[in-house]
């Protein structure tokens, strides 16, 4: 048995004794009690796989907002990773491996384990009490309840405690290392290098940390990791282990990024490129809070973060800041958008550059706060009084949140308008590798400020963009008054003139519609010779496009247009829709984009709708598309 202290001992060198199989891609889910550290285990496995060179996608699944009692199904926390030697876009449907640290974790997740899949359970989590808390009348480990899976029962907790004994750690403290033991087993099973994790342990608990007087902690975690690895290798646990080759991704430097992180980076990049400091006013709400948290750590970028008393104040404060020359940004989720709508409407009337991010969650009302959904599209498009057009764009993946956040700022500043950016809980918390861009490579965001003129007209318009001038308080000679009442063209004074209101309403509409000239034409992927066109938007890109590739690979002809711009639509969209026999829109809502497409283009469009608080299953979509294609023929 190798000395626990030597990282090399566990670094990916495959061991001769056991056969090693090549596999293309694997989906693993680590599931345990909130207290078991499954998020950490998953993250470590992810990092190891990323550094090893696989493509990957992850999906954490936290327990609902409330804190549930330990050991109950409600308290289960899980982390899923899909890693592969070819390009992937989803965290995977069915699991190849499920790790269940207790009975509740098994109960909550077993349904997703593929037939014949590997099930690793910690026997210590299946005692009387555990079964009771999980509401099992009898142990699922007996009576063949799990036939058809490759069940691997290990007293992980017990082995961990023994493995760390020499460090002096005891009881709960010792048991807490069990997630590293588990990680070690998985490292062996998928032949992953452990350096990264060993370094991480060092950086977190090592001599240079606040734990420097507690060397036993770092040592125990290392020991547990190594023990798990060696245990898997020595004991006859697994018939064989596996290797997932490097994926040939575009060359470059990568990092792992979640949607909320990417949004933060995108906003900061836009601020630097436009030279306008960010004033971020927000009120915490799941799943958008991490954008507030992320930005508030970046104050050296000149970011002011303001945790307002509520969403109304958050929105109002960024409107005031935008008028004063800042890049005004706020983020929230559905309920918060409801509250922001009146103040956002003021920004429509005042024509000010603000970005409003909606990280969508399950609705209506408080709904399913920690689950994903796409049901705020119509709210963002139409949820304001009067005719109140704003650009609405949506990110399609975790890393795309960077590009779309950047784009939202560009549009807001160029057209002097509030912009709605939609993401969702799935891409906001999920992560994937991100090819790090060179800051210089980002498109410029020029900003023109108004300069003192004789008779300043706050509502004169740029002939090309129809944007009004940005005149900052503090500038001598540009003193002016604006507000929420209808304004006279050019002068911006209050006007109750009937003709003026009609004209201004059309000017506001034309300004937003004109943005179509400034966005990329809609691309079509998949088999463009198909009769069926699938149109999707936002966070479903990964699952939908994967399903469509699968279809086309199996000879089911399907074309795919994924929208990132929903208002205005790309100029060529109507033409594209017209070119197919049938247009279908799969959405995680009851048919919101479907309505807008039919409504805008006056053509029949069919919807595929599911609101289960989760992404689509690729296989489910493939099946749907297949039936539809059959029906057309």
């Amino acid at each position: 048995m190798v000395s626990p202290s030597s990282p090399a001992a566990v670094s990916g060198g495959s061991s001769p004794e056991k056969p090693i199989e090549e596999v293309e891609s694997v989906t693993i889910r680590f599931a345990g009690d909130s207290g078991d550290g499954m998020q950490l285990t998953g993250t470590q496995f992810t990092d190891a796989s990323a550094i090893f060179g696989n493509d990957l996608a992850t999906m954490p699944d936290f327990p609902a907002e409330i804190r549930a009692p330990a050991g109950t199904v409600a308290g289960v926390s899980a982390f899923q990773i899909h890693f592969s030697s070819h390009e992937i876009k989803t965290p995977g449907d069915d699991l190849d491996v499920l790790v269940a640290m207790n009975a509740a974790a098994l109960k909550a997740n077993i349904a997703d384990l593929d037939v014949g899949g590997i099930l690793v359970v910690d026997l210590a989590g299946f005692g009387e009490k555990d079964l009771e808390k999980a509401e099992y009348t009898e142990s699922p480990l007996r009576h063949g309840a799990l036939d058809g899976y490759r069940v691997i029962e290990v007293d992980i907790t017990g082995l961990t405690v023994r493995a760390v004994e020499h460090t002096g750690l005891k009881g709960r403290a010792a048991e807490l290392c069990k997630n590293f033991f588990t990680l070690g087993m998985m490292f062996w099973l998928y032949d992953r290098p452990a350096e990264h994790t060993l370094n991480w342990i060092d950086s977190k608990f090592g001599p240079k940390t606040k734990y420097k007087d507690k060397p036993e902690i770092a040592e125990a975690n290392r020991a547990a990791l190594t023990a798990g690895y060696n245990y898997a290798e020595t004991v006859e646990l697994f018939s064989s282990h596996y290797r997932v080759k490097k994926a040939d991704l575009p060359a470059g430097k990568y990092r792992k990024i979640s949607g909320n992180e990417a949004a933060v980076f995108g906003l900061l990049a836009a601020s630097r490129k436009s030279g306008r400091d960010i004033m971020y006013g927000s009120y915490p709400i799941t799943p958008a809070s991490d954008i507030l948290h992320g930005l508030s750590r970046q104050k050296h970028f000149g970011v002011l973060t303001f945790q307002a008393e509520d969403e109304i104040a958050a929105m109002a404060s960024v409107v005031g800041a935008a008028w004063t020359g800042a890049l005004g940004i706020t983020a929230t989720s559905g309920p918060g958008i409801c509250l922001k709508s009146e103040a956002m409407n003021l920004a429509v009337m005042a024509e000010l550059p603000v970005v409003v991010i909606d990280v969508q969650r399950g609705g209506p009302s408080t709904g399913l706060p920690t689950k994903t959904e796409q049901s705020d599209l119509l709210l963002n498009l139409y949820g304001r009084s009067g005719d109140s057009p704003v650009p609405v764009i949506a990110a399609k993946s975790p890393s795309d949140c960077f590009d779309m956040a950047y784009e939202a700022c560009r549009l807001a500043l160029k057209y002097m308008t509030p912009v709605a950016l939609l993401t969702d809980g799935y891409i906001a918390n999920g992560s994937e590798p991100w090819l790090i861009p060179a800051p210089e490579s980002l498109p410029p965001i020029p900003v023109k400020l108004a300069e003192p003129v004789a008779d300043f007209q706050p509502y004169s318009r740029d002939p090309e963009t129809l944007a009004r001038p940005w005149a900052l308080p503090g500038t001598p000679g540009l003193e002016h008054r604006i507000g929420g009442l209808e304004k006279a063209q050019q002068s911006g004074r209050i006007s109750y003139d009937p003709g003026n209101h009609d004209a201004m309403t059309r000017e506001r509409a034309a300004k937003i519609a004109g943005i179509a000239k400034d966005i990329p034409a809609q691309a079509v992927e998949g088999d463009t010779s198909a009769d069926l066109l699938v149109v999707s938007w936002g966070g479903t890109y990964g699952t939908v496009s994967t399903a469509i590739s699968d279809c086309n690979r199996n000879g089911i002809k399907v074309a795919h247009a994924h929208l990132q711009y929903i208002n205005p639509f790309p100029v060529n969209l109507g033409e594209i829709l017209g070119a197919y026999k049938k247009v279908v829109v799969p959405e995680l809502n009851m048919g919101q984009l479907r309505l807008v497409l039919s409504g805008t283009f006056g053509i029949p469009v069919e919807g595929i709708n599911l609101v289960r608080g989760k992404p689509f299953r690729v296989s489910w979509l493939v099946d749907k598309f297949q039936r539809i294609v059959k029906a057309i023929a």
Partner: protein
Amino acid sequence: MSTVDTPSAPLTRKDFASPVAVRWCPGCGDYSILAAVQGVLPTLGIPREKFVFVSGIGCSSRFPYYMNTYGFHTIHGRAPAVATGVKLANPDLQVWVITGDGDALSIGGNHFLHALRRNVDLKIILFNNRIYGLTKGQYSPTSAVGTVSPSTPFGSVDQPLSPLSLALGAEAGFVARTSDNDVKHMGEVLAAAAAHKGSALVEVLQNCVIFADKVHDPYYGRQTKADNLVYLEHGKPMRFGKELEKGLVLNGMKIETKANPSDSEVLVHDAKATDSTLAFALSHLSHPDHPVPVGIFRAVERPLFHEAAHAQVKAARAKAEPDLGKLFNSGSTWTV
């Protein structure tokens, strides 16, 4: 806000009058408040472009249109929140908030109290006519119980509140009251509010000639004034009455009126007391049981919100460059 670059020629009240025709009812108290503000601003040594007036919705909230400064007529009740964004985005501006008793205390109560709590450096003028003027006369949170209005034909049943008591409950540092019929006093109080570092609330007793005419007359009328108003001046005894023959005295923690009190027993005003108890007690003196205090109840400096917020940015900037490349490459990366 900076007083550095004062303009070449000294400003006059004319410089602050906008070209727009003023549109309040003839006789509305708002006119004199406008005049008072236009009288004070030129004396502050601040260039015109640094003044910003933010208002909500209401008759009073039309105010910014009549000022030849930067102005934002926002939405009902949200002016303090909008103004907070303005001040944070450019601390160099002197930001005034114009609001009404409905705008500030009814729909806007939450933003009002949080701006004061945080001590955002805003000068808030609350036009208290004890009615909703713009929507044609419904009662407001400062209307007396029994107020007959379109929405309360049988009289209102809500207990009113005092804007100043509420402000003190929210830890306001500067709290004052003045009246639309005393331009000189308005000028002094507004000047003090402008000079105060931090949020300053000035309640102006304002008369709505249409929907609540003479509502303040019982205490601020020409006849009633002497016996029903008490002028608060820091360090001065709280005397009132035609011959100042009456005074406010302390009984335990209760403030009472006493006829012909001796100088020693009359309460001496202390606007600078860090403890807000006296100001709070004074804010509860109301007609007819007590004289109504006007003047500066409290003027105590507290840490400035925008300074603290910007200090964190400065500190962070001193420590690190805003380097996108560094940011993108932070954490664990790998190369393919």
